[in-house]
């Protein structure tokens, strides 16, 4: 598994590249003795700034490459690998470019946006690592539609048991079959439904005695609740992956806009 992972792509070639870049930048930063405190306006400051700026543009190009399905400029795994490692490196280069100075100006805000984008990128890597495994665990080899069919199957069997059950149980079984996955939209992100009809039905069944039909219905509803839980977990993971993109991409674009403003500002009031 490991050898074809995006992080280990071609024996960590991009990790090595990023490390070398960072190391070089840091070495120059340490050796450099500018006449004023280190900042973006010294010679090294301009050089590091140019590198960081160009890297930002290149990192953004990942979004374009990702959609260019017919492109054959490198494999996607390689692009992602470079995107991740150089994305972290650019934060370090930009920090050295700024000489560790921060202010609430267009310059400081550009840096803050960079931090936000890179940190959110790291979160993305973390999600990228966990989610595929979690998704396959949740689905356990099935598709969401298959899970839904299982649920429909359970509902049919419960409907057959219903006439043998007491009246309250009958009503609860019907409510469970008609009950929605979520009580409101935000539950898609939490994966929980406190007002789940199936859970309510189970409570009714627990109190409904030990008749055989009730016992069977209890087992079926337990299974139903379990399947609902898996569906909700699946939806939750999918939604958070979307939320991540909804954050990372607009922030990246805002960063590029701020970067343009930053560069123009520097030379406007040179």
């Amino acid at each position: 598994m490991f050898q074809d992972h995006f992080l280990s792509y071609r024996r960590f070639i991009y990790l090595k590249t990023a490390f070398l870049l960072t190391l070089l930048a840091a070495a120059f930063y340490i050796v450099d003795e500018p006449p004023v405190p280190p900042n973006g306006g010294t010679l090294l400051g301009y050089v590091l700034g140019t590198i960081a700026g160009l890297l930002c543009l290149w990192l953004l190009a990942f979004g374009v490459r990702k959609r260019a399905y017919r492109s054959d400029t490198g494999v996607m795994r390689g692009w992602l690998s470079a995107h991740v490692y150089l994305g972290v490196a650019v934060l370090i280069v930009a920090t050295l470019h700024a000489g560790f100075q921060l202010s609430w100006t267009v310059h400081g805000v550009t840096y803050v946006l960079l931090v936000i984008v890179v940190v959110s990128g790291m979160t993305g890597v973390w999600m990228y690592f966990r989610y595929p495994r979690q998704l396959s665990e949740v689905l356990d080899g099935k598709t969401p539609d298959a899970l839904l069919r299982d649920i429909a199957d359970l509902d049919d069997r419960c409907a057959q048991l219903a006439p043998d059950c007491p009246v309250p149980v009958r009503a609860a079984l019907a409510a469970a079959a008609a009950g929605p996955l979520y009580a409101h939209r935000l539950q898609r992100y939490t994966g929980r439904n406190g007002r789940c009809a199936t859970a309510a039905c189970l409570r009714v069944l627990t109190a409904a005695g030990t008749a055989k039909a009730v016992q069977s219905a209890y087992e079926l509803q337990s299974l139903r609740l379990h399947l609902l839980g898996r569906l909700r977990a699946y939806v939750r993971l999918r939604k958070w992956a979307e939320v991540w993109l909804l954050f990372h991409v607009p922030m990246s674009l805002a960063l590029i806009a701020a970067l343009v403003a930053h560069v123009v500002a520097v030379f406007f009031y040179w």
Partner: protein, 491 residues
Amino acid sequence: MGEERKRSPLESELDRALTPQGGRRPLSWFAVIIALVAGLLLPMLAFAPPPQVAALFAQFGLVAEKVNRAPELKVQPTPWYGELPASATGLRTVAALDRVWDAGPLSTAHQPWALDCKACHSEPFARVKDADCLTCHSTLAQHAPDDVSSMRAQRCASCHREHHGRFGLDQQNRQQTASECSTCHADIKKTAPKTELRNVRDFADEHPQFTVRIATSARADAFKRVTLPEQGHLEEGTALKFPHDVHLDKKGIAGPRGNKVMECKDCHVPDSTRTSFKPVTMRDHCQSCHELRFEPALSGRQVPHGSVDDVLSTLAEFYGFLKVEPHTAPVPPEIGYRARPGKPDKPAEVKRTTPYNNAEAAARELFEKTSCVVCHDVQRKAGGGAPNTPGARLPSWTIGAVTPGHAWMPQARFNHDSHTMTECKTCHAAERSKKATEVLMPGIKVCRDCHVGATAVADKVRSDCGLCHGFHPKSPAHVASVKTAVAGAKP
């Protein structure tokens, strides 16, 4: 596709839940537009707004020239939007929207213009021009004339980099002028063929011995530059007799009120510059021991420490008065001089009979034996005191000229306050100095005990050129001398 069945409610709900959220595109546009408007468009608008916009903002007091207007300022920036009603107050650019471009805090002296970027950045996409600096700093002299090619390439901002904190410029003036000095000064003859300066690269290992300015006239109005010797002391002419070693004897020195152990600060009091010292005066620093008394048995009177004629007149008047009013004296004036124990009763050559005789005897004592001669070069001169003064008939003397104190290194940035952690004698060898003519300035070796050059060394003070040297000449004479020095250099 043909047997498409109706989706169950649960299936539809799942479909809906899994439908990708929209909004990535609008959110992106929103973020980009916010960043471009606040970070680019509004500041540019503040720099050069259409007149209608300026007028609109002015109505709300968001544009005005008043905030930084102070009559004493040389620069009264002309507002780009024209004159406004006097009631308008506020900011000098449109709501100072360009403040988001601020590259860092200005130094304290420039902070009145902190919201007026155009005061210095007069032209967009151009580096700050010297002309912008010289609007205010018009009196600053150039280090070297523009015909020196290396100076032509330098802008004010090559050395003075703003936006580096409240004390950024101060700091730079001390330390950062260093980096470029050796470009010319390592081989100064190349740039200034006629200069007297010697090459310098770094204080630590390539800096000439100090040169001091020595007075060539007794009035200290003419000077020459002399390099300090490696051993011993340079001498500067003065007719003063003052042995530092006697006064600084650790066992003390005998005075009228007993033994006194003296310290440097008893005479040398720093002046307001903290670089130099207030002049040492007879009255404040010497006279408490070196009294100018005469006739001690009769009176506590002292002659003034002034001109010879003042002294002679004082003596003549004193004895004249005693003659008229003898009862004011505790003992008869004829024997008054006996008060000096262990001395012969009467000086043989003077008959103490008349007031003039008495005054003459006292004058001889003062000038030639007890007082003046102790510190001064005293010569008897032909004739008497100034005509038409009470002392006209008395003999007279000339006192050798004492060269007044003056700065030996007038251009150096040196502050004694910064060196109070060490004793005076660490640098000034006064305790062994026997003559007042000795220039007790320390040589470069003494400074190098603590100071190194531009490269940091443990336990030493890193010293760039700017720590001791100024860059801009301070006097017209200095400017002229630089001009002469560089004459004939290859452009």
